[in-house]
Symmetry: C2
Subunit: 401 residues, 2 copies
């Protein structure tokens, strides 16, 4: 079977081990290495309180852009940990660099998990040594990395896209972790992407922002963004293509592949969101502007009462209207139309007769689409949402202790 | 026992009956009458999709300001009902006026309940007749009205304030219904306030806006605002005081009483919010502006992960910091401090040692306060929130059918 993990792209090795951060003994430390060096681009949470891991990662990715490794842990976010936090984030990089014959600045750190507890650094240090020794380009090693970044996720998430440019086979691969605290500003938590494409750093960053904007940022699980959200894209350049400009086919193909890959990862994350049993897509059309279309879609996808109704497979379209009405977007009630997949439930300002059983069938699917026509313009956008279940509450009422 | 219902103020009669809108047979139609006529002020939802009841109420309250009655139903919001909606809202007023020897324009309508179903008008018409015949100034009649506006509320909510101005005894009374779809923009659903004070219409409106802004708009249950939110204040003038200016003591005493009354109703509503087992107050200090203080408090009070943690009595202060960090307000992490009542859990950018059991005891109370010092300015504001429970989801996953 073809490798569908982050080691699928040429030049990358990975490892995922348990170093003892998680009391459960589950994997909690992951390492990606690119011995020949990779160009890096990264985007981060917009939360004003950021983990030192984010601060250090931003510093290191913002340098020459050339990196050798990513070191990531789960089970502890190293956030709000006071002065020791930055020291620990830097120590993770230093320790990793030591084992890989690189510089501290060539390592990007990422952390996820509980906020406010110092990292158990002796365990982490020891773990980094073990991870470095078990690095491998195998699919299994890539999968171990995907497992090592999980928190409340119930399964690892991986995806790969392949395309050809000027006779060169290019691979783009990625892994992501969910599963709560996901808002549409950087709905990423931690996301790691690798490719063997050669590309200038500025274009790499542009491609990453485009892909994240079109996929990860289109999902709201609970409207929250964490202190640690990070998406990193590493390009080894080993495919041997000539670095292209933004106008050339290589760049366009790459962006298309990256968007498709990130959309895939986003949907995997949505379907594994905390307590979620199904997901839905909200498409808003006829908006006065692109911004209003996006805002309207996001408001409906994040509206607790809509999310509860989806959980109950209840075609309560009144709540959809209520949500769009309070989204602060222009609309004309006499032109407002709402559909569940192809089933019209509200047409031009009035309720319509529809088959309730059919509506329930549609909502009961793993995925369905809510269409809302605002009747004031020609702009459209979408947002993904997930249902809100009793389990979400149960998971989050007792996470800390 | 003193009358603590909306009939406590001189000049008001009330009734609450079952006319058959609710299949359960519970009370679903309420009437307040002021035979001598009352000055009215009202504030409404800012949802762009409004019930025709809101539209008609706004028209009628915006006329001379002189009204004779309020007719309110629960079990059906008369929202998104197409063209028949406005006709039905007007018919409710006409029918009420007929029985009370008034004009259609002198009646304010209000509706709450399911969206998208036409009102069963023959039942409503018949019910209005019954309600008009059972009007009474008794405390029991006032309580029946309070019961008749309930939807998912588990108990009626009433409050009264009394004060004396220039030898005149003034009463202000109110009732409110919750219990879901409550966001800080008009967190009111339906709220009815009566007083025997005499006051000019413009001042009455100003007093109402002040009181709603300081109380009802400071509560978020689920961040939602309905299509039907309405708060109505009626002043009979029978206390016989001379209508005052905004500078005179009568007005200031009235506003203070009204704020206190509305705060009381708001807290009753919070403690009876859908699935809520406890409430909390978020106080933000040291903000760069009043607006940022309010925004920060609201963001924390409405943050699902904080609400879940409160439900689990889990002192997970990391989520509080995460919420304030993503609220889009200025803060300095090195000055950021967080307290649960008097217990400091995070001080000037670093976690502190605190008694976990004591923290759990604080959160387990019916009400506690989360203090957040941002360290950038001198402004403060607050917001009330409630815990998010499995029951909230259960209630809202199957409300429609």
């Amino acid at each position: 079977m073809a490798n569908s993990s982050i080691t699928a792209a040429q030049g990358f090795e990975a490892a995922g081990i348990s170093c003892g951060i998680k009391q459960s003994g589950h994997l909690d430390l992951g390492l990606i290495s690119c011995p020949t060096g990779a160009m890096a681009a990264a985007v981060f949470t917009t939360n004003r309180i950021t983990s030192p891991a984010v601060d250090v990662c931003r510093d290191h990715a913002g340098g020459s852009g050339r990196v050798k490794a990513v070191i990531a842990n789960s089970g502890n976010a190293n956030a709000c940990t006071g002065r020791s936090g930055r020291k620990d984030a830097l120590a993770m990089c230093r320790e990793t660099a030591l084992h890989l014959d690189g510089q501290t600045e060539e390592v990007l750190p990422a952390s996820t998990g509980i906020i406010g507890k110092p990292l158990p650094m002796s365990k982490v240090r020891q773990g980094i040594g073990v991870a470095a020794r078990t690095l491998s380009p195998s699919a299994k090693a890539g999968l171990q990395f995907a497992r090592a970044i999980m928190t409340t996720d119930t399964r690892p998430k991986q995806a790969v896209r392949r395309f050809t440019v000027s006779g060169r086979d290019i691979t783009v691969a990625g892994t992501i972790k969910g599963a709560g605290m996901i808002g549409p500003n950087m709905a990423t938590t931690l996301c790691f992407l690798t490719t063997d494409l050669a590309m200038h750093q500025s274009l790499l960053g542009r491609a990453l922002r485009t892909a994240v904007g079109a996929s990860l940022n289109k999902l709201t699980v609970d409207g929250h963004q964490s202190t640690n959200d990070t998406a990193i894209l590493l390009a080894s350049g080993l495919a041997g293509n000539r670095a292209s400009t933004a106008q050339q086919p290589a760049y366009r193909c790459f962006v298309a592949a990256l968007v498709s890959l990130c959309d895939d990862l986003t949907r995997q994350m949505a379907l594994d969101a905390e307590g979620a049993t199904r997901m839905f897509k909200v498409v808003v059309t006829g908006a006065a502007s692109q911004r209003e279309a996006a805002r309207g879609a996001r408001a409906v996808a994040g509206y607790d009462l809509v999310k509860c109704a989806v959980h109950g497979a209840d075609p309560n379209w009144g709540r959809i209207l209520c949500a769009i009405g309070s989204a602060g977007v222009q609309l004309r009630l006499d032109r407002l139309t709402c559909k569940l997949d192809k089933l019209t439930v509200f047409r031009r300002g009035g309720p319509c007769k529809f088959d309730i059983k059919e509506a329930r069938r549609i909502i009961s699917r793993k995925e369905h689409t809510i269409f809302i026509e605002l009747g004031v313009g020609s702009h459209r956008d979408f947002c993904y949402g997930v249902d809100l279940s009793e389990e979400y509450v149960a998971i989050n009422a007792d996470y800390h202790t």
